[in-house]
Amino acid sequence: MRYLPLTDTDRADMLELIGASSIDDLFVDVPEVARLDGPIRDLPMHASEMAVERHMKGLASKNLAAGDAPFFLGAGAYRHHIPASVDTVIQRGEFLTAYTPYQPEIAQGTLQMLFEFQTQVARLYGCAVANASLYDGSTACWEAVAMAGRVTKRKRAVLSGALHPHYAQVVKTMAQFTGDTIADAQPAIQTEPDLEGLISRIDEETACVVVQYPDILGRVSDLSKVAEAAHAKGALLVAVNTEPVALGAIQSPGELGADIVVGEGQAIGVGLQFGGPYLGLFAVRNPKHVRQMPGRLCGETTDAEGRRGFVLTLSTREQHIRREKATSNICTNSGLCALAFSVHMTLLGEKGLRELAAENHRLACLAADRLEKVPGVKLLNNAFFNEFTLMLDGKPARDIVRELADRGVLGGVSLGRLYPGVEALEHALLVTVTELTTEEDIETLATELEGVLS
């Protein structure tokens, strides 16, 4: 067994020192009912690296990798070019095989990285403080709602209809149990999001308003109006961002008045990975709110010789100290994804992120113009970053996506997939374009879409 260093001689010697006659002696406390007479049945025995590799490659080959087809999917998970050096860094054993930095003297690498990461996220979101990551954007969204409740001592959350439906689902799942009331809606198919409608739903019981920016239809709109309205009623504005690259081109939620900014960081450094592991980002605009934040925080301090160093801090918010009174139950977070994000963000820098955003937007505009020309296709958005909604004649968009796939094109995400059974959205197709999209890809989509529609 290539992963098990003990030899049979070792085992015998060790049993002898312990004073046990056989390994079974060490399992005496297991009740009869639960004893097995040998390896568990119906499972294969151990296999060589070669054999396992064959098996896994066989499974991988049954998937169509995004890189092997014209690819236009987004809706909360984005495909960008990740520089090769990002993987080099996250494969360093010292990062990959470290644990949560509970012994700071030998974890300064992880800790300084987290301090840099928190700074990058806070600045990207236009906030004062960011934490050391949560699981993903959707759970971060719930944590924001829960935190707003703690801050405002209110239990009603108003969700914008244009919030990612999976995020809304997660919030509602949790609310069933916490007794929070969630006011949500479905996105109205219109050029501009219905901010007035949203604002009208804010009342004196409202703890927070949750708005996605850019929203689920790819629309970009000015959050500051919502912020003012929320603040007027003593509620907090929670802004959700699923495409951090967008913030290289448009103003940050913090700048527009959001109190808590959460989002999905996967687009930078992490990759698609069929949905996980991803990276939950969480930041607050007002430093006073720090002690209500969920998750780990890394802070600066000094060591016994006066040298600068970093530690996990304010742990009195956390489960391992506060137990049932903790601000969240989270323990393991997304450390390595945070590293990947931070390395990629470091390679981009201010200049690179802005150029990346500009290039995404340029190509998206190009694609929107081209696809609009396809008979039976209408572009919904006035404004968008790298993702926009097309209204398609005829068949439901969901069938069209399948037919496009049969033609070897991953053409987008149908709103039918996201809102099953909602007729009003059945004909909407969400198309995403990034720097990895070539003009040929766009041309291919246009042609195949025309083929499928006619």
Binding site: Y3, L6, K62, G109, L339, L347
Partner: protein
């Protein structure tokens, strides 16, 4: 920091606080291969970048609703050479399993096989979109299905939810299913019982899910006090959350009895499976009456901890709780096609599901690693994993009990971790000092001050991937540091001496939190 001293150099010795000479001072603050590294924001520039992208053409029309950025973001960039060096230097200030023995109790720091990493990076797994048409990701759905089978077979449980993102998220999943089950039968319950020795996530989760938490006392031998538990049971108790093997490193002998008693009063049994590594392949929790248990793939199944995550915490379920499991899940249809069941089909399938707890389908990147690990070990290898893990822990327990206080040494064999206390340390030396002394010896310390039921607790989990030679050297080092602690060797209070940093001031950090970098005033 470490600004080279321009003023020319005078030979002189570095004096550390405690007056120990450490050799000539260096102008850089570096010590050969122990390298200092400034903060990213101290070396990066706004105009520097490590990617080559087209310059922005200001003339092109944007469609951004007039929200174009006016202010700088405040980020800085590095070129690739600077980036690789920055993070390489930082990494060298870290300890990891690859460097040495990492007996962090309860965390199962076992070796992370590199084949797992290689497989997870196959484009067919790493480069597919969670919302891709299902016909184009059949292999990915099959991975989830195969892993689910392994988990169900290994635990002897009929159902499993794959989407939880870590252990604590798995606990939430289990507790929500329990609450949904009670709600479904109109039986509202308020309380979840948790042993004092439980991990912090247990009470936190119960509270997060809206329950009151009551503690269950432990017996002197370190197990749940069954009588006290039974006494507390009643119609208000929704569930008990028990870790088995427990956090004192012992197997809960009476788990079955407890489970029956809990079921008796209409409650459910949640088992914290964080310690599954002690029994994987040898004991099936399903045989013990468990209703829900999370499995940390990042512990038992070797996916890397990555300095804090990501993890993955699938939850296995009993028949009773299966209908309430979350969405989405993978189903195999008649033609052997794999299908992802999401909200749409909720009616026809799991009418009673408590819903969705994360945006997509769970930690796919961890699934591919865990499945690779399982296939590599097989049923025989996994059984050996548990046996070697337990053997190593008992070996350590028996090799040190003569010198270190082992509160439960007489409670029978330990499972995969050995628990010690700080009794009889000289002077005002504490568990913390001993831990820091081990750092100088080249080890990552064991878990300290957990579980709370033992004073100055030291929880040592060797795992199965250590050689006997490695464990023997650790025992000798642990012994020597313990002797110093017992002898009241004050130099321990200053340890570590050789780490990139001496002890860090955590109080100061919390008093005036500095959580992000900001430009120095004087610049």
């Amino acid at each position: 920091m470490n600004a080279p001293n321009k003023s020319g150099w005078k030979p002189q010795m570095e004096l550390s606080e405690d007056g120990i000479h450490t050799g000539p001072a260096t102008t850089t603050g570096n010590h050969a291969l122990m390298l200092e590294e400034p903060l990213l924001f101290e070396i990066g520039h706004a105009e520097t970048t490590g990617v080559d992208l087209p310059e922005i053409d200001a003339s092109v029309q944007t469609r951004l609703a007039g929200l174009e950025r006016s202010e700088p973001i405040g980020l800085v960039g590095l070129t690739e050479p600077e980036t690789v060096r920055h993070y390489t230097r930082l990494s060298r200030q870290n300890y990891g399993i690859d460097l040495g023995f990492f007996p962090l109790g309860s965390c199962t720091m076992k070796h992370n096989p590199r084949l797992n990493e290689k497989m997870a990076r196959l484009p067919g797994f790493a480069d597919i979109h969670p919302l891709a048409p299902q016909q184009s990701v059949q292999g990915a759905l099959e991975v989830i299905d195969q892993l689910a089978d392994w988990l169900k077979t290994l635990t002897g449980m009929p159902g499993v939810a794959m989407s939880p993102k870590a252990g604590a998220h798995g606990e939430l999943c289990g507790i929500l299913a329990i609450r949904a089950a009670h709600t479904a039968r109109g039986d509202a319950r308020k309380v979840v019982l948790v042993p004092e020795s439980a991990h912090g996530t247990n009470p936190a989760t119960a509270a997060f899910a809206g329950y009151d938490v009551d503690n269950i006392p432990a017996t002197p031998e370190g197990r749940v006090d069954v009588e006290a538990l039974k006494a507390r049971l009643g119609p208000d108790v929704a569930a008990v959350m028990i870790t088995n093997p427990n956090t004192c490193g012992l197997f809960e002998k009476d788990f079955r009895t407890i489970a029956d008693a809990v079921h008796e009063v209409g409650g459910y049994v949640y088992c914290d499976g964080a310690n599954f590594n002690a029994i994987v392949g040898r004991v099936r929790p399903g045989d013990l009456g468990v209703d829900a248990m999370h499995i940390n793939l990042h512990k038992t199944f070797s996916t890397p901890h990555g300095g804090g995550g990501p993890g993955s915490g699938p939850v296995v379920f009993s028949e009773a709780l299966m209908p309430f499991a979350p969405l989405p899940f993978v189903r195999k249809d008649e033609e052997g096609q794999f299908e992802l069941v999401e909200e749409e089909s909720r009616e026809e399938t799991r009418g009673q599901t408590f819903g969705r707890m994360t945006a997509f389908h769970g930690q796919m990147g961890m699934f591919t690693r865990a499945l690779t690990y399982m296939l590599s070990h097989g049923a025989d290898g996994l059984k050996q994993v548990a046996e070697d893990a337990v053997l190593n822990a008992n070996y350590i327990l028996r090799s040190l009990e003569d010198i270190l206080h082992a509160p439960f040494a007489d409670s029978g064999p330990c499972m995969h971790e050995a628990l010690f206390g700080d009794k009889d340390f000289g002077g005002d030396l504490s568990t913390l000092d001993l831990a820091k002394g081990l750092i100088d010896e080249g080890y990552h310390p064991m878990t300290v001050y957990f579980p709370l039921v033992v004073h100055g607790a030291m929880l040592v989990e060797p795992t199965e991937t250590e050689s006997k030679a490695s464990i023997d050297q650790f025992i000798a080092a642990f012994r020597s540091v313990t002797e110093r602690a017992l002898a009241g060797d004050e130099t321990l209070k200053q340890a570590p001496y050789y780490a990139p940093r001496r002890r860090l001031d955590e109080t100061a950090a919390a008093r005036k939190p500095k959580l992000v970098w900001s430009e120095p005033e004087d610049e």
